[in-house]
């Protein structure tokens, strides 16, 4: 019970700060919006989008804006060295990790609430025809990406070149998850939606999630203790 309370205490603090500054939300939303609009100019010709472009653009917008959110979320903990205070506190390190992860997931969900309808609109993509499968792909893909990202962003919080290092470390590991998200989404966007294929990619994303979250929970304590 205390573990759950600790997770929520950390998440609630992050959301309170974000509700006050709206810094991460506005920045990531603006970035994702710009990303989709720029691609729309490149991939929509005479009102017709290039086939299968929507799935890739959706996941690129999520991954890039997610990287931005991860960096900023931990920059706040660095400014007052508050991460040190949290590491010294009796909060279990896995609870601290999950608290930060949950806060980032909530922020990315808000970004997706904007990006998914925008991609559907700009690329005439039927993203809402199979809402449960689409929701599953988005949730599983975002969780895997954020799980690894939260670990790396925390590890790099005191590194001088953290802004450069975060994407360098993050993308090679999360690319399989992003590809699974793209292929699963593309399967749903076919003229005849390939639901079994989308389910197979979703299963792979869930597998990645289990691996990424387990590894992150396992390694968070040692990597945060110097």
């Amino acid at each position: 019970m205390r573990f759950v309370r600790d997770v929520w205490t950390v998440t609630r603090k992050d959301l309170l700060i974000e509700s006050r500054t709206r810094e991460i939300l506005l920045t990531t939303m603006f970035f994702a919006l710009a990303c989709v609009l720029v691609f729309a100019f490149g991939f929509v010709r005479e009102g017709r989008p290039v086939q299968d472009a929507a799935a890739g653009i959706l996941w690129i917008a999520i991954a890039f804006s997610g990287t931005l959110a991860l960096g900023r979320a931990f920059e706040r903990e660095r400014q007052g060295e508050t991460l040190r205070a949290l590491l010294m506190s009796p909060i279990d390190r896995p609870a601290l990790y999950l608290g930060k992860l949950l806060g980032i997931l909530i922020l990315l969900s808000a970004v997706e609430l904007l990006v998914v309808p925008l991609v559907a609109l700009m690329f005439q993509a039927p993203l809402f025809d199979h809402p449960l499968l689409m929701l599953g792909l988005l949730a599983a893909g975002t969780l895997g990406f954020a799980a690894v990202g939260t670990l790396f962003a925390a590890m790099l919080v005191r590194a001088r070149s953290r802004d450069v290092m975060l994407p360098v470390l993050l993308y090679p590991i999360t690319v399989p998850g992003i590809i699974a998200g793209v292929r699963g989404t593309a399967a749903l966007l076919q003229p005849e939606a390939d639901q079994p294929m989308a389910l197979a990619w979703l299963a792979m994303l869930v597998f990645f999630d289990v691996v990424f979250v387990t590894m992150s929970l396992w390694t968070f304590e040692p990597v945060m203790t110097d």
Binding site: R2, R5, D6, T9, K13, L16, I17, R20, T21, R76, Q79, G80, E81, T82, R84, A85, L86, L87, M88, S89, P90, I91, D92, T225, D226
Partner: protein, 216 residues
């Protein structure tokens, strides 16, 4: 299991960062109800030693004991008995004074959170500024708030890194009074400073670090 202790003991503690030796075979004992000063120039190893005592760093060699307990054995119960005021104040600039204290009171799973927050704000002289964002506070106000943040869970071991930096004389006096109060309450207080005038008449013991070693 609750962890309590009446002494902090460092035995032959060394710490290296790559090829740089930050501490070399430092031994030190600080008892409950005392204030110990760690003196030395910048880069002497004072902050490294505090970080090791705070369980934030592990020594490369040597042992750190909190009573009979070592850091690895103590875990969260040990950490709940340690408070630290760093040079960076460990406060969220975007939160109000009351929200900062409330957050850390919850992190330490304390009872009677609101009463503790009110009392801490009163001691810091910030009752009228309780709902103001900390980012707008002066250095002295933030320092007072940070001290109360470090003390909100009534730690047995209180570690302070350069606590007098940037304070005017009135604030220094208030800090000295607060530290005497912590000592009378039975805390083990260890502070670092290179300003010996600020701690005159305050400390019970003082050791000097030079290039990571205790000065003879």
């Amino acid at each position: 299991m609750p962890v309590d202790f009446t002494a902090l003991r460092l035995v032959e503690v060394s710490r290296t960062f790559g090829r740089r030796r930050a501490l070399h075979r430092v031994s030190l004992t600080a008892e409950a109800g005392t204030i110990t000063a760690l003196l030395g120039h910048n880069g002497a190893g004072k902050s490294t030693l505090l970080s090791i005592a705070a369980t934030l760093l592990q020594p490369t060699s040597g042992t750190v004991k909190y009573g009979d307990t070592e850091a690895r054995q103590g875990g969260r119960d040990l950490r709940s008995r340690i408070g630290m005021l760093g040079h960076d104040l460990y406060l969220y600039a975007e939160l109000t004074a009351a929200e900062n204290l409330r957050f850390f009171a919850k992190v330490y799973a304390l009872d009677g959170v609101e009463a503790r927050v009110d009392a801490a704000l009163d001691r810091a002289g910030l009752t009228t500024r309780r709902d103001d964002i900390v980012g707008g506070f002066s250095r002295g106000m933030r320092q007072r708030l940070a001290l109360e943040r470090a003390l909100i869970h009534e730690p047995r071991l209180l570690l302070l890194d350069e606590p007098f930096t940037g304070l005017d004389e009135a604030a220094r006096g208030a800090l000295r009074t607060r530290l005497r109060g912590a000592r009378e309450a039975g805390a083990i207080v260890v502070l670092t400073t290179h300003d010996t005038a600020a701690i005159e008449g305050l400390t019970d013991a003082a050791v000097t670090l030079v290039d990571g070693k205790l000065a003879a």
